[in-house]
């Protein structure tokens, strides 16, 4: 009975946590849509600032990592395809893997490391230093003031970063394609474009949008749940990263399964 009790309690806790993420996201989304006009300029500026931090400043590291991932994918694909004399399918393998799966996933993992952790640390530090309480005593809703601008920034920047990741990964694959598989620049990119369907890119972008929502919700929720003391900020940050990666993988699984079973072909 003890095991079933523990499993039941764990399930309830996890459902409660998912519920808290959904509630936070909903409150932030409502604040974005119906927030007071007073102070809206300030919130737009905060969203823009977040978009710079989440998106623009992440471009160098995302470019580098996804470029190498593209090269790795091309090498791994070529290793198998060569055995069947099908090296001309390297661009297809790279492009499909990146746009449908690895582009959004690698981008999400990098953004979790850079921004999800930063959200938890920022809000956690504000909680510890009574800044969240100060917001409340000034009749400012912390969700509207802190979470909503982050959500807007993340929902806009995650799909943009993912498209950039896809492009950089394909460029990485092209380097191998040209140097090791006998393609020219034109032939490699033409083969890539021929292999890609509109749905491949759209499904990747839908995933990126959902990942952005998850990363913001987990990062901010962990920050808001920070206990007393600076040690707790570190704990919140670590928890935010671990939980974000786990939830992103779960969401990825869910959407991949959904797209597979609803795909017309």
């Amino acid at each position: 009975m003890a095991i079933t009790d523990a499993v039941g309690r764990l399930a309830i806790d996890n459902f409660a946590y998912v519920g808290s993420l959904a509630r936070l996201t909903f409150r932030a989304a409502v604040a974005v849509v119906t927030g007071p006009r007073q102070g809206a300029g300030l919130r737009y500026r905060r969203a823009l600032h977040q978009a710079m931090a989440v998106g623009v400043e992440a471009i160098p590291i995302i470019s580098l990592i996804t470029f190498f991932v593209g090269v790795i994918l091309a090498l791994q694909s070529a290793h198998e395809l060569k055995r069947f004399g099908a090296m001309e399918f390297v661009p297809n393998a790279v492009a499909l893997s990146l746009t449908r799966e690895l582009g959004p996933l690698m981008t999400a993992i990098i953004v979790i490391g850079r921004s999800g952790s930063a959200f938890a640390a920022e809000i956690g530090t504000m909680k510890v230093s009574e800044e969240i309480d100060a917001l409340e005593t000034m009749a400012l809703d912390p969700v509207s003031f802190l979470v909503a601008p982050k959500l807007v920034a993340m929902l806009i920047m995650m799909p943009c970063l993912t498209m950039w990741s896809d492009f950089m990964g394909i460029a990485g694959g092209a380097v191998f394609g040209i140097l090791g598989a006998g393609f020219t620049i034109t032939s490699y990119f033409r083969a890539t474009l021929d292999s890609l369907l509109k749905e491949d890119i759209i499904t990747g972008l839908i995933k990126a949008f959902m990942f952005g929502m998850v990363i913001t919700a987990v990062g901010c929720q962990e920050g808001l749940m920070t206990g007393l003391g600076s040690e707790q900020v570190g704990r919140s940050t670590t928890t935010a990263v671990v939980k974000s990666i786990f939830v992103v993988i779960l969401v990825d699984l869910g959407f991949t399964a959904l797209f597979y079973f609803t795909s017309p072909s």
Binding site: Q38, M126, E130, E131, D133, A134, T137, L140
Partner: protein, 278 residues
């Protein structure tokens, strides 16, 4: 409850009325049914040792904690039953200076002070800028608008926090340990600032502190909290001459008595503190 009943429940003429207030964190009750009034324009000092519940009382008075029972009447509203919208409206009429200043580290001092005005007032940017300069001048920080909080000393941060708390011209100002962690000269400067603000604007102030010198300088009336109950409530002169044992112990800085025997020590260890010290 009708508006006329509400008016009756709050003592006429009081800026704040607290009635049989109880606050608990989970199973642990911190405040055990306390009652007092704060008159308009007076400075009430809430004294008490560490863990006496004075910060919890202050947080409950500004709506950061929910009472388990009892009433807090402020601006004609009972904080225990207030709706979130009413609480927001009420909070625009009060200001709070936190123990650690709680300035937003990512904003300049000027942005910190202007934040409530930008969020809640219809004033244009140039008027807000003038008001920020005015508020900073009132707390002795003229010219510090563009400094980041990290560039300020502890005393300056406290002053900036007071300027932010005053930005909406509140009727009541709450201070949590205003001179904690400051050297005696800077602490005296903060006391002087509170006196100056009270004299200039006639604000009602509620100050939580355990600094006796500061309390007797700025306070009109005092309450002494001990383990969640009020053991003394009176003017500073009444408190000064009180013969109540806990008041004398607090004012004369007498340490807690040693535990008499092993049984008392064990009772203290298992959390039966009240029995142990009998």
């Amino acid at each position: 409850m009708t508006p006329s009943q509400e008016a009756l429940t709050q003592d006429r003429g009081s800026a704040i009325s607290v009635r049989d207030l109880r606050v608990a964190y989970g199973e642990r009750e911190i405040l055990h049914g306390i009652s007092f009034d704060v008159l308009p324009g007076e400075t009430l000092v809430i004294l008490g040792g560490s863990g006496s519940g004075k910060s919890t009382l202050l947080r409950t008075m500004v709506g950061l904690e929910r009472p388990t029972s009892g009433e807090i009447w402020l601006g004609g509203k009972n904080m225990a039953t207030i709706t979130p919208k009413e609480l927001d409206d009420l909070r625009k009429t009060i200001g709070m200076s936190f123990q650690g200043s709680a300035l937003f580290g990512s904003m300049t001092v000027g942005e910190n002070v202007s934040l409530p005005l930008k969020e809640h007032s219809p004033l244009d940017d140039s008027t807000i800028e003038i008001m920020v300069r005015l508020k900073l001048d009132q707390v002795g920080l003229a010219g510090y608008e563009n400094y980041m909080p990290a560039q300020l000393s502890g005393g300056m941060k406290k002053r900036a926090a007071v300027a932010r708390a005053m930005s909406m011209d509140p009727q009541i100002l709450f201070f949590d340990e205003p001179s904690a962690g400051l050297d005696p000269i800077i602490a005296a400067g903060i006391d002087e600032l509170i006196l100056k603000l009270k004299k200039a604007f006639g604000m009602t102030c509620v100050v939580v502190t355990h600094e006796l010198a500061s309390a007797f300088l700025i306070g009109d009336r005092m309450i002494l909290l001990d383990r969640g109950v009020i053991v003394a409530n009176g003017t500073k002169d009444e408190i000064q001459v009180s013969q109540q044992p806990r008041v004398r112990q607090f004012l004369d800085r007498i340490p807690e008595p040693e535990l008499k025997d092993e049984l008392s020590y064990l009772q203290m260890l298992i959390g039966d503190d009240a029995t142990a010290r009998k």
